[in-house]
């Protein structure tokens, strides 16, 4: 990564760390969830990188969430163990699902991933033992490290920042590596990639598994702060939010989805705070934003940024 970008990243993190203590309590919560959602959205981009839009991503977050909740509450594992195990559980389940799912393409893959995800979610609802059914699992233990009180927002924000930053670094390195290049190749022209020996099935699976690993970790992070995990946190409605973040932000580059989730979260909170709009209308606004984005801004916000930059460049010549 270039020095300029590195400085920007450090500045952003520093900004978050210094500003958040001054925010109102509810906004500190929002900040934590925003940081976690950044991981959700960047890990989703890895999955879509091979050209397939899946609807199972948020359910994988739930798999990680439930795994960590159950391991820590029922089996007594400390958070520091249950969280990576949560990622591995999500990775494992998605690895199994690769076999049926990647025999489908495009529209069928979308529906198939939706069906598989919904089936898993319904299992959480139906099997009250051990998943707790509709009310889920509560009293999920807070992480323990010395006498840091992770019940408080600021310590948990630091924790989330550390975990998410490390994850983003790894994801970024993957993308910049030849593995990432191969994923992009599969995305742009799968038959050409195959003609030079790329096993596209293997790479699609790799993207799904690694993406699921990281969103599983995000799931664990989320529910250990909330203290409760329910099936309704991981329904198709939430999955659509992820889609909206990625589409509005753009997904051609690493940073596009991050722009999407940040801008839309700020927009969402701004809308709520201004009181101009009844919160019940929010989903309709999201729907309109999504439609507008597809029709008028197909490259997303990052695409707009690219256009501005090349306009500025041509103005300077």
């Amino acid at each position: 990564m270039s020095i300029k970008n590195l400085i920007i990243c450090i500045a952003v993190i520093a900004g978050i760390v210094t500003l958040t203590p001054f925010l109102k309590f509810q906004y500190q919560d929002i900040m934590i969830f925003l940081v976690i959602n950044v991981l959700v959205v960047v890990s989703y981009r890895l999955v879509t990188l091979t050209g397939e839009w899946s609807l199972i991503h948020i359910v994988m977050m739930g798999v990680g969430a439930y795994a960590s909740a159950m391991l820590s509450k029922f089996a007594g594992f400390p958070f520091w163990v249950s969280m990576p195990l949560a990622g591995l559980t999500a990775a494992g389940i998605s690895a199994i699902l690769c076999f049926p799912l990647f025999r489908m393409t495009q529209f069928y893959f979308l529906i198939g991933s939706f069906a598989a995800g919904e089936a898993i979610r319904l299992c959480w609802i139906y099997f009250i033992n051990p998943f707790g059914g509709s009310s889920g699992i509560n009293n999920i233990p807070v992480p323990i490290l010395g006498d840091i009180d992770f019940y408080e927002p600021m310590p948990y924000l630091y924790l989330s920042l550390v975990v998410v930053t490390i994850s983003l670094v790894i994801l970024h390195r993957i993308e910049k590596s030849r593995v990432g290049l191969t994923l992009l190749a599969v995305h742009w022209k799968a038959p050409l990639a195959e003609s030079v020996g790329v096993d596209t099935w293997k790479y699609r699976s790799l993207a799904l598994i690694v993406g699921s690993f990281f969103v599983g970790i995000a799931g664990a992070l989320k529910v250990h702060y909330l203290g409760v995990v329910t099936p309704h946190q991981f329904g198709i409605g939430i999955m659509v939010f992820v889609l909206i973040w990625v589409i509005v932000g753009g997904y051609a580059t690493f940073i596009g989805p991050i722009i999407g989730v940040v801008v839309l979260t700020v927009f969402d909170q701004g809308l709520r705070a201004s009181g101009v709009v009844d919160p019940a209308i929010q989903p309709a606004i999201y729907g309109a934003v999504l439609i507008a984005s597809i029709l008028f801004m197909p490259e997303g916000l990052e695409g707009l940024g690219k256009r501005f930059r090349s306009m500025a460049k041509s103005n300077n010549t």
Binding site: I111, A115, A119, A280, P283
Partner: protein
């Protein structure tokens, strides 16, 4: 034994609804190549229209139903014109736009209906037909089944006997070739979505007196429609109708003897299995990708 017979009756009635749900989705996907994720919401719109007109404003039921169909049709036509047509080259974009419509319609329903418990529409036909000692068929359900089957019959006649119907099927089979033959793709797309949305609206209108209405009632519809469509064959209407009744029987019996959630889980798993083994379904013809 009584339970068994009652379940059969329920299956048939449920099958009529499932068929109406699925047929609309198949028409739109088959002719236009796009998946309308807001299909369940079109059903919901039909139901809410009947609630608004008949329950809240004393419009006769038999008038409210056609109005519901027309309103659903209009929404479908708007979607075709402004969302699906500009995105014809990228069906995924159209799909995502339909998700946007899904949200908007849910909020509209929420605003129209206000907060509070689920809405209910008193059935205009309230007799219960009793056969033998134990078989109870509410006449409202019988009415719904009759109307559903009639609608499916009319659709079948339209598609197989009319020139327009043949044009629809031609476009579903090969859009480019049809265009080269002079078929107006825009007009055919509009007809397809008009009919598909109209079917959805009709289904919703018929459902209104039979269940609680909530803004989220479309969720169940779209899941069922997907399962039925995939199992029956993505391009095939007759497959969808057959699958609708088979799945209705499956779902009814599993719900009666076990549990509704398990029934849906199993249904989804069956759909995944069909997707793996034969994505074109039981009777499907391969739709050109």
């Amino acid at each position: 034994m009584e339970l068994f017979l009652q379940s059969i009756v329920n299956s048939i009635i449920q099958g009529g609804f499932f068929a109406l749900w699925a047929v609309g989705l198949v028409l739109i996907f088959g002719v236009m190549g796009v998946v309308n994720f807001a299909h369940g919401e079109l059903v919901m719109v039909g139901a809410y229209t009947v609630w608004l007109l008949h329950s809240q404003n004393d419009v006769p039921f038999l008038l409210a139903v056609p109005i519901a169909i027309i309103i659903a049709m209009m929404i479908g036509l708007l979607m075709e014109r402004f969302l699906f047509r500009p995105n014809r080259t990228d069906p995924l974009a159209g799909l995502i736009c339909s998700i946007g419509v899904l949200f908007i319609l849910q909020v509209v329903a929420h605003e129209v209906g206000g907060t509070g418990p689920a809405k209910q529409v008193a059935p205009p036909f309230s007799e219960i037909i009793v056969i033998g000692d134990f078989l109870r068929i509410p006449s409202q359900r019988l009415f719904s089944l009759a109307v559903a089957l009639s609608a499916l019959g009319v659709l079948w006649y339209f598609l197989t006997q009319s020139k327009l119907g043949w044009a629809l099927r031609a476009v579903a089979l090969d859009r480019e070739a049809s265009a080269l033959q002079g078929i107006n793709i825009n007009r055919i797309s509009m007809i397809a979505i008009g009919v598909g949305a109209g079917m959805a609206g009709l289904a919703g209108a018929l459902m209104a007196p039979l269940q609680n209405l909530t803004p989220h009632m479309g969720h169940n519809v779209i899941i069922t429609a997907f399962i039925v469509t995939i199992v029956g064959g993505v391009g095939s209407l007759s497959g969808a109708v057959a699958a609708a009744f088979i799945y209705a029987a499956f779902h009814t019996f599993v719900t009666t003897y076990f549990n509704g959630t398990i029934a849906t889980i199993l249904g989804l798993l069956i759909m995944v299995v069909v997707l793996i083994i034969k994505p074109t379904g039981i009777m499907g013809v391969k739709v050109s990708e």
